[in-house]
């Protein structure tokens, strides 16, 4: 699905990012930005990585020059040189990102027949993701404040009903949309309320993320969730739109005995659960790595792995092995760097020991 397709383009983004760190050519930076746009066009969960990278990638590339100019041997010439090149690459990167992302927003708005936006539900998504920490004072609209105040009636504080708050007919979003039917206004108010919650109580939001992370260690729940996702294909049948899609392709629901069977890849997916914990913990391995290997690509891996880790914890309503897929590629790269660091260290100590 989109995870797989976007992962392919994300791999290309990483390749060109590493190339840029090595050769520092503007055309490589441009390709990184264009590929990043393709990635978010498939999967919006990469948006933070893309935006932060546009700012940080040129800084990482010119970090050696910046170190020399501002810390090791500060001089007017070296400072001017560093500022000139960093300024050029940074402004190019930010400008290009701004143009491409604005283009995406415009196109998405035009296709949907609505105002420009990355997603037209983003405010509601964030609101429900942080629903357990919401307070009536967070909302700029008194009607939403009143709804949040009555949250006990529909389990607003329950950490694991967040998905339901977004999609369930009795959830926060449906109730809010009944009060404010204008989609743009309801989303805007929701976004503002969520941002206020983050600004007023950032630690509460971080705590939510920590709880989400800890829930990954509930092995039974994770396995059950994986099975639910595999079975979701048939659990919703029949819905009106599902009928329309199924009729178009001349499809019928699978037979009951077929539903119970797991296919080869489904069994592989379920049995890969232990491996996914290596993926989940890989950002922590990267923390250790950044102290031992002072290379630009390690900083980039560190940045990407922690942003994606934040996305699957702080910006996720649920826990799922699927969400870890972007981190799986980074995990392989992190462990490759780790192995290389160990080999380099050994060969260095061997050459020093030799007469």
């Amino acid at each position: 699905m989109t995870e797989t397709v976007s992962l392919f383009f994300y791999a290309l983004v990483l390749i060109f990012s590493f190339l840029y760190l090595k050769q520092r050519c503007l055309w490589q930076l441009a390709i990184v930005q264009i590929l990043s746009l393709v990635v978010i066009s498939f999967r919006m969960s990469y948006l933070l990585v893309v935006q932060v990278s546009a700012f940080v990638l040129p800084l990482i590339a010119f970090l050696p020059e910046l170190r020399v100019a501002f810390w090791k041997h500060p001089s007017t010439v070296s400072k001017a040189f560093a500022i000139k090149w960093v300024g050029l690459h940074l402004s190019f990167s930010i400008l290009l990102m701004f143009v491409l992302l604005q283009g995406y927003r415009q196109l998405n708005g035009k296709l949907a027949g609505r105002e420009p936006a990355f997603l037209h539900n983003s405010g509601l998504i964030v609101l429900t993701t942080w629903a357990p920490v919401l307070k009536p004072t967070d909302s700029p609209d008194p009607r939403l404040s009143e709804l949040i105040a009555k949250g006990d009636q529909f389990r607003l504080n329950d950490l694991w009903s967040r998905d339901g708050q977004l999609y369930s007919p009795r959830g926060l979003v449906r109730r809010w949309k009944q009060i404010e039917p204008n989609a743009a206004i309801s989303d805007q108010v929701a976004k503002q309320a969520a941002l206020n919650a983050l600004l007023h109580r950032p630690m509460d939001v971080v705590t939510l993320g920590v709880k989400t992370f800890l829930h990954y260690w509930n092995f039974r729940h994770i396995r059950r969730q994986a099975k639910v996702e595999l079975r979701r294909a048939v659990s919703n049948w029949p819905k009106k739109r599902t009928w329309a899609v199924a009729t178009h392709f001349n499809l019928s629901p699978p037979l009951p005995n077929e539903v119970k069977k797991y296919t080869l890849l489904q069994r592989y997916f379920l049995r890969s659960q232990p491996y996914s914990y290596v993926v989940l913990l890989s950002p922590f391995a990267c923390v250790g790595l950044i102290f031992f290997v002072s290379k630009g690509y390690v900083s980039l891996l560190f940045l990407h792995s922690w942003i994606l880790f934040g996305t699957v914890t702080i910006l996720s309503k649920n826990v799922s092995l699927r969400y870890l897929q972007p981190m799986s590629l980074l995990m392989i790269l992190i462990f490759a760097v780790l192995v290389k660091a160990v080999i380099d260290r050994r060969s260095r100590s061997t050459s020093q020991a030799a007469p």
Partner: protein, 96 residues
Amino acid sequence: MGDSESYLWTALSGWIPPDRSFLYGVCDSLVIRVDRKSDFIVNPSGFSRCHHVTPGYTYLPVGSLASPWLVLSFRSSLFAGPVAIGMGALRHDGDR
């Protein structure tokens, strides 16, 4: 049908999902336009065809993909082999 339904609905109706990116659905619509009968993108949804198809029909595209092997080098074949087997497994499994 889960997420697949959303993307297929984009392909069929032009509806843009408010909670996910649109490009996958647009790509689906292009695939449907190119080959309206192809079940390649539908199989991941977990549904099955109403009519019975013969295994020969199902694996025909994989077989036609495999025919260029005859002129490929050994190294390329090493790469193309797992790709074809993977595609065959996906088509057979109807997996996500």
